[in-house]
């Protein structure tokens, strides 16, 4: 963190030495412009992640019927349970929005409160999913039983892994926000995390529609 800030400040100093900018205002525009490009880069990463999920969805759709005479997903899942998971993730996506609004208003404590709430909503989602997986596994419906179950665990598990990584990141951001307060650096990092988090909620729309709802028809 400190290194990064120093690096940014050194870059700023060098810019000023080279006389690239006549006054502070144009420098701020320059900085803003660079930040926009950084965020665009992160957005490109998110889009490649989208392609990763697309391949897993394609694999799932192809292998869905290959249950090796085992039970179909319809007999294994409970819709109210999936609805609870969905609500946790949707609520966390919304409260993350409230984090960003508090950041814009420089309300550190509000931002911390909403960020912590988002963290626990995300944690409940992962908890519910892990519970579901353990339940399936202990009933003998594990990933090595059939191609359909392999595809199911890979797709839903990859999404769950992303959410878990998002949670670790969020825990780090809670510490950083508590320590440094609302700074441009923190704002930028929270913007990255926000893109990631909203993206995961959007992927989940397709997981519950294609895997669970279509599986239950």
């Amino acid at each position: 963190m400190t290194e990064l800030v120093m690096e940014r400040e050194m870059a700023t100093a060098i810019d000023h030495h080279n006389g690239n900018h006549d006054h502070d205002h144009s420098h701020d525009d320059h900085q803003h412009h660079n930040d926009d490009i950084d965020v665009f880069g992160f957005w490109i990463y998110i889009m490649t992640d989208c392609v990763l999920f697309a391949t897993l969805f394609a694999a799932y759709s192809v292998l869905e019927g290959a249950t090796f005479s085992g039970p179909t997903l319809k007999q294994l899942i409970s819709l109210p349970y999936v609805l609870t998971e969905t609500m946790c993730l949707l609520a966390s996506s919304f409260t993350y929005g409230l984090v960003m609004l508090s950041i814009y208003k420089h309300k550190r404590n509000f931002a911390l409160f909403w960020l912590t709430l988002t963290f626990f909503l995300g944690l409940s989602f992962v908890g519910l999913e892990v519970h579901e997986f353990i339940h399936l596994y202990s009933d003998g419906h594990s990933w090595h039983v059939s191609a359909a179950l392999s595809a199911f665990f890979t797709l839903v598990g990859t999404h769950g892994t992303h959410v878990s990584i998002g949670l670790i990141w969020m825990a780090l951001m809670i510490c950083q926000l508590a320590k440094y307060g609302v700074t441009p650096q923190i704002n930028k990092r929270l913007t990255y995390l926000g893109l990631f988090w909203h993206f995961l909620d959007i992927v989940w729309i397709f997981v519950f529609t294609i895997v669970y709802l279509m599986g239950a028809i």
Binding site: D28, Q31, H32, D35, D36, V39, F40, W43, I44, M47, C50, V51, A54, T55, F57, A58, A59, S61, V62, L79, V82, L83, T86, M87, L90, S93, F94, G97, L98, M100, L101, I103, Y104, K105, H106, V182, T183, P184, N187, K188, T191, L195, H198, F199, D201, I202, I205, F206, F208, T209, I210, L213, M214, A216, I217
Partner: protein, 110 residues
């Protein structure tokens, strides 16, 4: 850097507002519950259900992209949107192509 600047940094997205988040939440809840109730109560025929819940999922995708991510076609945000549309194309080719090929293989192997 002064703190005042933070407020202005919105990073290629339209400025997020409480109103947009509330709209997004409301639409998402509505679309999610509709999809779950339709399937849970089996209110339509199978084919109609598949089409309806796909349409509901796509509608929710747009609701969240516009209200939560705030993608737009102005200024810097334009590039984010272009990347998004391009990804859409890639995903379409990838998923559609895979299903098409595998369906044909299945039919021909019968």
């Amino acid at each position: 850097m002064s703190n005042d600047q933070v407020v202005k940094l919105k990073y290629g997205a339209k400025l997020k507002t409480l109103k947009s988040y509330m709209t997004g939440l409301f639409l998402s809840l509505l679309l999610t519950f509709t999809a779950f109730i339709l399937v849970g109560e089996h209110l339509l025929s199978n084919a109609a259900l598949y089409i309806t819940i796909t349409a509901l999922a796509v509608a929710q995708l747009f609701a969240q992209v516009l209200c939560f991510l705030r993608l737009n076609m102005t200024g810097e945000g334009r590039w984010n949107s272009m990347a998004f549309i391009f990804t859409f194309l890639v995903v379409f080719v990838l998923v559609g192509g895979s299903l098409w090929i595998m369906y044909n293989l299945n039919v021909n192997m019968m």
